[in-house]
């Protein structure tokens, strides 16, 4: 009699776990995001007949690929439990120096090299201050946020650099071959693959997760935490330089307010993509989904003439909701689990007493 009962309950257990597995996949953050993306595309195409046009859709990626490039390294930064709010200012600084050398008559290759180099240096400076003096990343990056853009303001005043070599325009405006696929989109996808492989398939990526989950434990298990954080901030600068190349090339000019406030969107892309703000959790797939989610959201709102500042309200709320929602779900799940355990305990007690 007793054996029968356990058999039945075991059977039920297996079934339930399968069901739970299914629910787990469905309710995974990445799956929810993908569903929202599909709904968004549907709604957008209902609102505006121009949305689903293949050519339009391809072109719409122009408006968020630079932000997407900024978002990729921020995955690493947030994965480590850090934050970098200076990326948009780094972009401005990079663009400033590109404008300077272009003004002096440099060719495209030099301009690009300067853009990437200045970004790398700016990021390395962040990393140096953060790791050498062990200062919180938020403090350093709020200083450099002001310093880097401040340098652009100081040099340019109310002027702008607009003299760029003709071939430089390709990075921001070009299409691949004779297709209507923007170079920016292809380049971003390539970068996304690189970052995905580093994050999920290399020891470096594993170390990022380890640092984010428990920095002290990571240190004691022999991971060179400070060195890795330094690399992460340097890479962030380099990618900001890359975004600077693309953006400067696309709009063909450098003003001190270039990419103002973009750190919000880049960070929102990452956090909405399911990277835990406390570090140590998240996948590249989620971030790529959220990049397109946010990008198409902006594109859709643009089609119905929503001003940029109003779009920022949505982005701001999305950032907050993206952190609040998983926490609330987790809380609800935990309290449900507790209730279930309580009930089982009561049942056991009842059986024992009877």
């Amino acid at each position: 009699m007793g054996e029968n009962v356990t058999l039945v309950s075991q059977d039920r257990l297996v079934k339930k776990s399968r069901k739970e597995q299914f629910i787990h996949i469905i309710t995974r953050w990445e799956s929810i995001l993908f569903l929202i993306l599909l709904i968004e595309i549907l709604v957008n195409s209902l609102i505006s007949p121009y949305f689903l046009d293949y050519f339009n859709l391809m072109n719409s990626t122009f408006i968020f690929m630079e932000k997407a490039i900024l978002a990729l390294p921020i995955i690493f930064v947030i994965m480590c439990g850090d934050i970098d709010i200076s990326v948009a200012s780094t972009l401005a600084l990079s663009s400033l120096f590109m404008g300077m050398v272009a003004q002096a008559g440099a060719d495209t290759a030099t301009v690009v090299a300067v853009g990437l180099g200045v970004g790398l240096l700016a990021g390395a400076f962040n990393g140096f201050l953060i790791t050498k003096f062990d200062i919180p990343a938020v403090a350093v990056s709020i200083g450099t946020m002001s310093l880097y853009r401040g340098i652009a303001h100081a040099v340019l005043g109310d002027m702008a650099y607009t003299d760029y070599p003709e071939s430089f325009a390709y990075f921001g405006q070009g299409y691949v071959g004779n297709t209507v696929i923007p170079f920016q989109l292809v380049w971003f996808l390539l970068m996304a693959v690189v970052f995905g492989i580093v994050l999920h398939k290399t020891p470096f990526g594993r170390k990022l997760y380890a640092i984010g989950n428990n920095r002290t434990a990571a240190q004691f298990s022999g991971i060179k935490v400070q060195k890795i954080r330094f690399i992460v901030f340097s890479v962030t600068g380099l990618m900001a330089g890359m975004a600077a190349v693309m953006l400067t090339s696309r709009i063909g000019s450098t003003r001190p307010v270039i990419a103002n406030g973009w750190e919000l969107e880049a960070i929102t892309m990452v956090v909405l993509g399911g990277v835990a703000i406390s570090g140590g959790k998240g996948k590249i797939g989620g971030v790529i989904t959220s990049i397109f989610l946010l990008g198409f959201l902006r594109y859709g709102m643009g089609l119905v003439n929503v001003p940029g500042k109003v779009m920022n309200i949505f982005t701001g709320f999305l950032l907050i909701i993206a952190i609040l929602l998983p926490e609330l779900i987790e809380k609800a799940r935990k309290s449900k689990e507790l209730k279930r355990q309580k009930k089982e305990n009561e049942k056991k007690l009842e059986m024992q007493t009877s």
């Binding site: 934050i83 401040g150 920022n312 309200i313 907050i320 609040l324």
Partner: protein, 331 residues
């Protein structure tokens, strides 16, 4: 037992001493370049210009003390300033005192929104306020429809708020002095004020000590919002214009005032006098720029440089103080 005064110990205890020396040196150097910089009228002008920065510096202090950071100060200033300016524009009959009360109430609500998300939603302050910096700014735009409120659309009584002299000193300075005294008393002598320091020093320990940490965090953010809205009101009335990009990047200046004043970015360390001096330091620099032939476009870069310098030196000083304490213990 007459102990000799240990200069090093005194300085590490009172951060304000080197800052005062620094300010005096700065004054002297600028005065060499431009005689007349140290004159009562110019110092009064600098003070008058720095009032708003002092107030938002203290708003930032309250949040930095609990280990957070408030990036939404500039947007809070803009939204509350714009709301109240438009109220004045469309209903000129509303008495000034009511307008002031409404401003502070708006500030309290905006601050509470930040505070609830940080305290009860467990969202890091930097992320919360990075969201609200854009949300509040966006609402300013929605509210005004992209328009701005100019001097001829405000009532004279409204514009007189910061500029009514009393005993020969403008009301803006009086308001600032009152705020400074209130916050000095609040942070040093009230239970909630001391709880803010305890929480910033060690959150876990303060929970075990029975401090209601969530309420303390909420208090900090509400007060910060109220101060920011007050600064917004003063800004809008003093410059007689409420615009969509009013007070952009003011939160960075507030951070600069704090870290120069010795406020630790990790929480628990910082004083009201320190922040007031820090703000005054920035006020001098801002006022000196045209005098030494530098365009105001240099301001942002200088603030950033000063923030970094102050943060690094604060960190090094904290380390040394820690070492001193440890040494004393081992003796």
């Amino acid at each position: 037992m007459n102990k000799p005064i240990d200069m090093k110990q005194l300085i590490s205890r009172y951060r304000e001493i080197p800052l005062v020396l620094l300010i005096i040196t700065l004054f002297l150097i600028i005065n060499i370049r431009t005689p007349g910089f140290i004159s009562p009228s110019n110092i009064y002008k600098i003070l008058d210009d720095t009032c708003i920065l002092m107030i938002i510096g203290m708003a930032q202090l309250l949040v930095l003390l609990i280990g957070g950071i408030d990036l939404s100060i500039g947007s809070t200033m803009a939204l509350s300033g714009m709301s109240v300016a438009m109220l004045n524009q469309y209903n000129p009959d509303i008495p000034i005192l009511a307008l002031v009360a409404i401003t502070l109430l708006i500030g309290a609500v905006l601050g509470a929104f930040n505070g609830v998300l940080v305290a009860y939603g467990n969202i890091p302050a930097v992320i919360t306020t990075l969201g609200t910096i854009n949300i509040y700014r966006g609402f300013t735009f929605l509210l005004s429809g992209g328009q701005w409120v100019g001097a001829h659309e405000m009532t004279d009584g409204f514009m007189a708020i910061p500029n009514t002299p009393f005993l020969g000193i403008s009301s803006m300075i009086w308001v600032t002095v009152i705020v400074i005294v209130f916050l000095f008393l609040f942070t040093n002598y009230s239970v909630r004020g001391r709880e803010i320091y305890a929480l910033g020093n060690n959150e876990t320990a303060s929970i075990f000590a029975g401090i209601k940490t969530k309420k303390v965090k909420l208090t900090s953010f509400i007060l910060s919002g109220v101060l920011a809205s007050l600064a917004g009101l003063l800004y809008v009335t003093n410059y007689a214009s409420a615009q969509n990009d009013t007070a952009t990047t003011f939160e960075l200046q507030a951070v600069a005032a704090c870290v120069i004043g010795g406020v630790s970015i990790t929480g628990g360390i910082g004083t009201v006098p320190g922040v007031v001096l820090g703000a005054f330091f920035i006020g001098i620099v801002n006022n000196a720029l045209p005098v030494i032939d530098l365009s105001p476009f240099y301001q942002m870069a200088i603030h950033g440089f000063v923030i970094l310098l102050a943060i690094v030196s604060n960190t090094l000083m904290d380390r040394r103080t820690e070492r001193l304490i440890l040494q004393k213990r081992s003796l």
